[in-house]
Symmetry: C2
Subunit: 237 residues, 2 copies
């Protein structure tokens, strides 16, 4: 029957991706080389073009190959290391390691943002916003310190939230979904005040995560999170 040997080697698109990946690793398709057309690969491997497309798109998403509309597919000469991080909520990050999570509001007030914060949030001029500074604890020891600004224009309800009980981050995630998010990782020396809060010494190298979220073009919040020495973000690509 016309059945294209389904029974013997029923390959899924994941298997196809693996086969092609192997060919790249083994040098059969060396860096910079052009791969066969999807249609040819499909015939060669005994499957439909759509299945090859699925596998190839996965390889392209992983940064291994490059696909262009008429140029065909090429093995990237200099594959970029593409890594995906899931930035967890502090509570879950702590609890994932089996420690007890704690939260503590350090300060809360409503003031004018500095120019730097307004700029980071894409505003032309500073605005009055809610500023919340808080500590996340793991087994009662400082885990991360966050200094957060929340737009009163976009999230007016935030003034009525009891931030001594609930982390602003968790409240926002539950009540104000965002459509855009920027992230920035860097390192900084701890100031005296930061060291005091994090239980380390001034000058210690802190891991810095800066995050901004928007709903459409309206800024929601902008946080600078500081983690004491020992903190690391890791992933497998």
């Amino acid at each position: 029957m016309s059945a294209p040997d389904k029974g013997s080697d029923r390959q899924g698109w994941r298997a196809l991706r693996e086969i092609i990946h192997e060919r790249i690793l083994s040098g059969a398709y060396p860096p910079g080389a052009r791969l066969p057309r999807d249609a040819d690969l499909a015939e060669q491997l005994g499957c439909a073009r759509a299945t090859v497309q699925r596998a190839m798109r996965a390889l392209a998403d992983d940064g291994l190959i490059e696909r262009k509309r008429k140029g065909g597919s090429r093995v990237l000469a200099r594959p970029v290391t593409r890594a995906t991080f899931d930035i967890p909520v502090a509570r879950e990050e702590v609890e994932a390691t089996g420690r007890a999570y704690g939260y503590q509001l350090v300060a809360r007030d409503i003031t004018q943002t500095p120019h730097s914060v307004a700029a980071a949030m894409g505003l032309a001029a500073p605005e009055r916003m809610l500023r919340a500074q808080a500590l996340h604890l793991a087994d009662r020891r400082p885990f991360m310190y966050e200094d957060r600004w929340i737009s009163l224009a976009t999230v007016p309800e935030i003034v009525d939230v009891d931030l001594t009980r609930e982390s602003a981050n968790e409240w926002l995630l539950a009540h104000r979904p965002y459509s855009r998010c920027t992230l920035r990782f860097s390192a900084a020396n701890a100031t005296d005040a930061q060291a005091e809060l994090l239980g380390t010494r001034a000058g210690d190298a802190l891991f810095v995560i800066e995050r901004g979220t928007w709903l459409g073009s309206a800024p929601i919040t902008c946080v600078t999170a500081l983690a004491p020495p020992g903190y690391a973000l890791s992933t497998e690509a």
Copy 2:
């Protein structure tokens, strides 16, 4: 009129994703809620189930919804912030900012790895490996310092490469593709020697990138890269 109005509002899967995303943002599908079945959405939106599937899978990949085989699709109550970073080769990172790239080998020798490195590479015991320490420069100023170990068992040819001319990283990328890669970001205070090399002061907060690559289960290389203050890694999720 069984024709599913193709002419008027021919929606692509990206448009569908956007529509569903909007519904989530607007609260039509609140956090934790179950979404309609793919088939129902398809009928409601006037397209094929495959198209809905494509959109929904994209939303799931972005960490916005969760899909289970019979449980249907749910809006994630606590959406994780999922960010994808492309870790560039130093040369390209420098040149992307319009600066002149420079490279300088600081040291090269073949010695036994410390236990820590052997462990990081998944080896039971230390091995003799090639260690290459090098500086990447931007406009003749230190941009990043790397301390790298390369497995002689996996990459014996590396001993014949002139590392004073070519960065080990670029040689490896061109000649030794990897199948697995681990990444770890952290912060550390500069030692005297590191500060000297990077042109900063001892104690300054450095951004640390640790990376390991393997081909199958064979370790290829393991690097610790240090960037001076001012360096940051950023992305848009």
